[in-house]
Symmetry: C2
C-alpha cells in the first residue's frame, strides 16, 4: 500500500500526521490534546475526517489509489487530490463565498485540509429529500457557476493562459475516463456495472440501449466532453457536491475537474434538481404531499438558469474590453452585434446544458451509481414509478434539446409529463 511516502491514514494515524504538520497545528490553535476526529465520508471515493479541537476545526480529505466503494479492484489515481485542491483554490479565488477555504495540501499524501462546513450545513441532496426549501440556492449556485465558468473561459483569458491550464488538467484523465464510462457509455450498453429498479425498469433500461436517436445524440455529447476545453469545470456538480444551510451554499469535491464544456456543470446541477423533483412523489406522505415543495424545486431550476444567464452575460459585458480572446471588442463592436453574439452563445450553452443534464439523469437511473433521492424511496414499485418519469423527461430533453428556447419550456415539459403520469 505504501508508495513514495504515501500512507492511507485512519482516525488514529491522522492525529500523528496533524501533530507533525505545523500549519495544521496552528490552524487548530495548537490545542492537540483533546482532538475529536471522525470519519464522515459517504464511502464513495475518498476518506473525509472532521477534526475538532477545543478552539477550532477543519476537515481532512484523503484520496486513496482506488475507488473506495468498489475496492482495490478498481484502481484510481490518488493524484485526483491534486486536481481537487488546485480547483478548490482556483474556484475559491473566483468565488470565495461559495467554496471552502483550503488550508493545506500534501501531494504525496493526496491530502487536503479545508474549512469544516459546520452544522447546520448538510449535503443539499439530503435537504432536498427532507423537503427543505433553500431560498438562496438559485442565487448562490448561479453566482458560483457564472464566476467559475466565465473567468476560466476564453471570454476572459488569453489563449496563452488557457492552453497552459488546459495542458495541466489533461493530467486528470483518469477521472475524466471514469465519467466517460459511467455517464456516456455504460448506460447505453450491456455492462456488469449497470443496475436499475428490477424488474420494473427492465424494459426501460433495454429501451435506452435500443434507442438509436438517443445513442446518436449521446455520442455528440461524449465527444464534446472529451474534446472541448471551454472552461475549468467542476466535473461532478450534482446535489451531493453542495453543502447548504438556509443562508450558505458551499461547493465541495471538484476532483473530476478539468477543462471541459460548461454545460456539463450547469446540466449536472439542474439535472439533479429534476431528479429531486420526480423523487418527491416517493417521499410524499399524509403530513406532506410535497406539491408545494415540487413547485419550489421547479422555481429553483428556472431561477438558477435565468440568474446564471444574467450573471454570466453581465460578467461578459463588464469584461468585454479585457484580455478575453474569443470575442475581440474591435470586431464585435456594436451593442447590437454584442447582443447577437451573446444570444447565440447562451443558446448553445443552454442546449449543451439540457443534453448533459439529461445524460446525467439517465445514468443515475440505469447506470452504476444511483442517487439517494430515489434509493431512499421505500418500495421498488413506487421508486420505479418516479424513476420512469425522470427517465422519460431525460430522454426527451436529450433528444429534443435544440427545440427548447427557454427554461420555461423545460419546466412546462417536466410538469406536463408529471401531471400526465400522476393524473
Amino acid at each position: 500500500m505504501e508508495s513514495n511516502g504515501f500512507r492511507p491514514l485512519d482516525e488514529k494515524s491522522l492525529i500523528e500526521y496533524i501533530k507533525a504538520t505545523p500549519s495544521l497545528c496552528s490552524k487548530l490553535g495548537n490545542q492537540l490534546d483533546s482532538l475529536q476526529i471522525k470519519e464522515v465520508g459517504d464511502g464513495n471515493l475518498n476518506f473525509v475526517y472532521i477534526v475538532i479541537s477545543s478552539t477550532s476545526s477543519l476537515v481532512i480529505k484523503q484520496a486513496i489509489p482506488y475507488i473506495r466503494c468498489i475496492g482495490e479492484s478498481w484502481p484510481m489515481t490518488k493524484e485526483r487530490a491534486y486536481f481537487e485542491a488546485t480547483t478548490l483554490k482556483e474556484h475559491g479565488r473566483l468565488c470565495p463565498v461559495h467554496v471552502p477555504e483550503v488550508y493545506h495540501f500534501d501531494r504525496v499524501m493526496s491530502l487536503i485540509a479545508m474549512r469544516y462546513l459546520e452544522p447546520p450545513h448538510i449535503i443539499l441532496r439530503k435537504g432536498l429529500i427532507a423537503g427543505i426549501e433553500y431560498p438562496l440556492l438559485a442565487e448562490h449556485m448561479s453566482e458560483y457557476m457564472a464566476n467559475t465558468l466565465f473567468f476560466t473561459s476564453l471570454l476572459y483569458n488569453s489563449t496563452t493562459e488557457h492552453k497552459r491550464a488546459v495542458a495541466e488538467f489533461c493530467g486528470n484523465v483518469e477521472l475524466c475516463r471514469l465519467t466517460e464510462q459511467v455517464v456516456f457509455s455504460d448506460p447505453y450498453k450491456v455492462s456488469q456495472y449497470n443496475r436499475w429498479t428490477f424488474p420494473y425498469l427492465d424494459r426501460d433500461a433495454e429501451l435506452v440501449r435500443e434507442d438509436d436517436t438517443l445513442k446518436l445524440e449521446v455520442a455528440e455529447l461524449k465527444s464534446m466532453f472529451c474534446e472541448r476545453a471551454q472552461a475549468l469545470i467542476h466535473g461532478d456538480l450534482h446535489t451531493g457536491s453542495v453543502m447548504v444551510t438556509c443562508d450558505s451554499t458551499q461547493v465541495i469535491d471538484p476532483e473530476f475537474s478539468f477543462y471541459g464544456p460548461m454545460g456539463f456543470d450547469v446540466g449536472a446541477f439542474l439535472g439533479n434538481l429534476i431528479l429531486a423533483f420526480f423523487a418527491q412523489d416517493g417521499h410524499a406522505d399524509q403530513g406532506n404531499d410535497r406539491k408545494a415543495y415540487q413547485q419550489w424545486i421547479l422555481r429553483t431550476i428556472e431561477d438558477t438558469w435565468n440568474l446564471f444567464q444574467k450573471k454570466f452575460t453581465a460578467l461578459w459585458d463588464e469584461h468585454k474590453d479585457g484580455l478575453g480572446e474569443a470575442y475581440l471588442s474591435a470586431i464585435y463592436n456594436t451593442p447590437e452585434l454584442q447582443l447577437l453574439v451573446q444570444k447565440k452563445y447562451m443558446k448553445e450553452l443552454f442546449h449543451d446544458t439540457l443534453g448533459f443534464g439529461a445524460s446525467k439523469m439517465i445514468r443515475r437511473i440505469v447506470g452504476v451509481a444511483h442517487v439517494e433521492d430515489f434509493e431512499s424511496i421505500p418500495g421498488a414499485s413506487k421508486r420505479a414509478f418516479c424513476e420512469r418519469q425522470a427517465l422519460e423527461v431525460a430522454k426527451l430533453l436529450l433528444k429534443e434539446r435544440r427545440g427548447f428556447q427557454s427554461i420555461n419550456q423545460v419546466i412546462s415539459a417536466i410538469q406536463e409529463l408529471h401531471d400526465k403520469s400522476s393524473g
Copy 2:
C-alpha cells in the same frame, strides 16, 4: 542573438554544423568536401537549405526566434521547429508515402534535417499557377488527410493517449495565436496588417468588417479552433505546404500543428484550391483560356472531399472494434446505427470544412498574407475581379455552410457565381 546554444546558421556556418554532426555526415555519404548548399526558403518564416553532396542530398530547415518576413519586431518562438519535427515524424509514421522522412532534429538549434524533395518536385501552388494538372492529387491528399486525422482522433485512440498528446501540443500556443489573429480576427477589424487590392476592394474589405452574420459565424469557428482537440492537424495545409510531381505528393511545413478541428486542415486545402480556381481567369491568355484547367480544379476539389470521406469512413469501419473511445462498438452495435453515426459525423466535418476553408480564403484576400495565385496576376483591376469572386463564394460558404449537403452543391455554387461574373 545567441541563447542557450542556439545560433542562426547561414550557408557557410551550416557546413561546419553538418561536419560536426555524425548522422548528417553519414547521411551525406561522408562526402563533405564539395557540398553544395543553397538557401531556398520562400522567406516567410524560416530558413531552408538544400544540401547536396556528390552521393546524396538533404534539406535543412532552421527556425529563428522571429517571423522572417517581418523581422525581429514580430518575435515567434523557435520552439515551433520542435512541433514541426514531432508532427513530421507522427504524420510520417501514419502516412509515410506523403510526408518527407526526418533524418535529424536538433531542438537547441531548432533545426530539422529531412529528405530533399528533388526536382521535378515543385510547390503545388506554383504548379496550379502554371496550369499543370496533377491526376493523382485528390487521391494522395485524401489519403494523407484521412490517415493523419483518423489515426490521431478518438475514433482510433484511447482518451488516455489523446489527452497526453493534446497536453504536449498545447505548448505550440504561439503558433496557434498567430492563426487566431491572422485568420479569425484581423480580417474582421481594422488592422495595420490587413491589405487588399487597392482601391478596387476597399468597399469589399469594409463589407467584411461590417457583416454581422459573417462575424457571428467566424466567432464560432474561432472558438472551435481554440477549444476543440479533435485530431493532430497540420495547421497550415494550404497549397504552398504541398510539393508535387505528376506522381508524387509530399506534405511539408506542419509547424502550426496542434490538436484542433479536422475541418481546419481539409478546409485549408480545399479553400486554397478554390482560390486557385478563381485566379485562373487572371492567368488565361491567348494560348490557354484555362477553362479546361478550371474544370480539373473543380473535379479535384470534388474528388478530394469524396475520396477523403470514403477513406476516412473505411478506416473507421476497419477499426471500429479497436481502442478508439468515441464510439464503442458495444453501443453502436448495428450496421444501421454505425451508418447513422458516420453520416452525422461526416456531415458536421463537411460543414466545419466549408467554414474553415472559407475563412482561410477570406484572410488571403483582405488579411495580412496573400497568395501568389492572385499576387502574380498582372494588373490590379484584373486581380481584384478574380479576388472579388473568391471573396463572394467564401462569404456564402461561411454563412450558409449548413445548407450544403454535398461537395457537388459547393462546386455548383462556385460555377454559378463564376459564370454570372464572367458572363
